[in-house]
Symmetry: C2
Subunit: 205 residues, 2 copies
């Protein structure tokens, strides 16, 4: 019945970050206060999130890190990083930023596998080195279907962002991580996560 639990988006964001934090934590137990110190989130908020994960009692000597990690993984459906369960992704646009993501180390420990990179510049495709195949952007729809790619990381130039997004939608992509500075229009049902260094800097002010 666990799949019936609807986790609010802000909680989901915190749980993902908490998972990352627990993976790096070097003790076997952790208290909500320690999580609070490491993340800056209010203690009560953390206990609310953990209550959603199934930890309905405050535990004075903290939570067992491995148990907590398993519970969060279960609730987020992060089953494992087994090759078979990985989700196929592609990188669209291999300029400076897109090319920086060709480093496969970035994704090796994750539940995601980059299956393809696309660029309109054929020379760039031939020059760049990567552990997965690179294709001309004209082949995008075919390769996405063929390689069962469901997510795209959008790194094209701002002026091409909407046009390429439309092509990705036609190719039946399910979600986009948008690294351009453009807010792209997508039909309902397609998820977009915007990543912007400028916006992040603005939040520091």
């Amino acid at each position: 019945m666990e799949s019936l639990i609807v986790i609010p988006e802000p909680t989901k964001k915190r749980l993902i970050q908490m998972m990352q934090l627990l993976l790096q934590f070097d003790k076997t137990r952790i208290t909500s206060l320690e999580i609070s110190e490491l993340t800056g989130w209010k203690d009560s908020l953390i206990r609310h999130d953990l209550w959603l994960v199934g930890y309905n009692k405050g535990i004075s000597n903290g939570y067992k890190v491995s148990d907590l990690l398993d519970s969060i993984r279960k609730i987020l459906c992060v089953d494992s990083t087994l090759e078979d369960n990985k989700k196929n992704c592609c990188i669209v646009g291999l300029g400076r930023l897109g090319a920086a993501l060709l480093d496969d180390d970035l994704f090796s420990e994750s539940q995601f596998r980059i299956k393809a990179g696309f660029d309109s510049n054929i020379n760039r495709i031939e020059i760049l080195r990567s552990s997965f195949s690179l294709y001309p952007i004209n082949n995008m729809a075919n390769i996405i279907r063929q390689e069962k790619i469901i997510f795209a990381i959008l790194c094209v130039k701002n002026k091409d962002a909407q046009n390429i997004t439309n092509k990705l939608i036609d190719a039946k992509i399910e979600g986009i991580v948008n690294l351009t500075e453009v807010i792209v229009k997508v039909p309902s049902g397609i998820k977009v996560e915007n990543i912007s260094i400028i916006n992040a800097l603005q939040l520091l002010k």
Copy 2:
């Protein structure tokens, strides 16, 4: 008295994104419904945010884009992109990802100015091209002081993230955009915004 308004963090995030959207909007008026369609946020949430900005009446024929933009800019203290008002930033770690940010176009339209890049590898500093100066990481504290740098974009290897963060804090940095996969510990008062492509992909699921 405007500075007394405390804007909740989620509203701030939405306003920053709304600002970006308005800058790209090609009509002179926009309705909250149109903003809702473009962002996926609930209409009521948008009107709540705009109420905080000072638009306390629903306007049936929409808001004037330029007025709305001015109001949001004012509330977020985004005074202008004049050279004098720009905040000085640095990039720490010039591997593939850090080097991808050396493209000054990325920041040219923003309120931020990259003043320096740092890396422990002297060869890399000599090879890389950028419109601002690159320095060995040992000089970081001096340069940050000298160039009045207040924000850092952290692109070092995961294993070095905490160590370099400590050095940035010693150098009196005010905020960090963290592009590593490590949750870094900072004293209260120092802001950190984490940017993670893996986390963004996880949110698409």
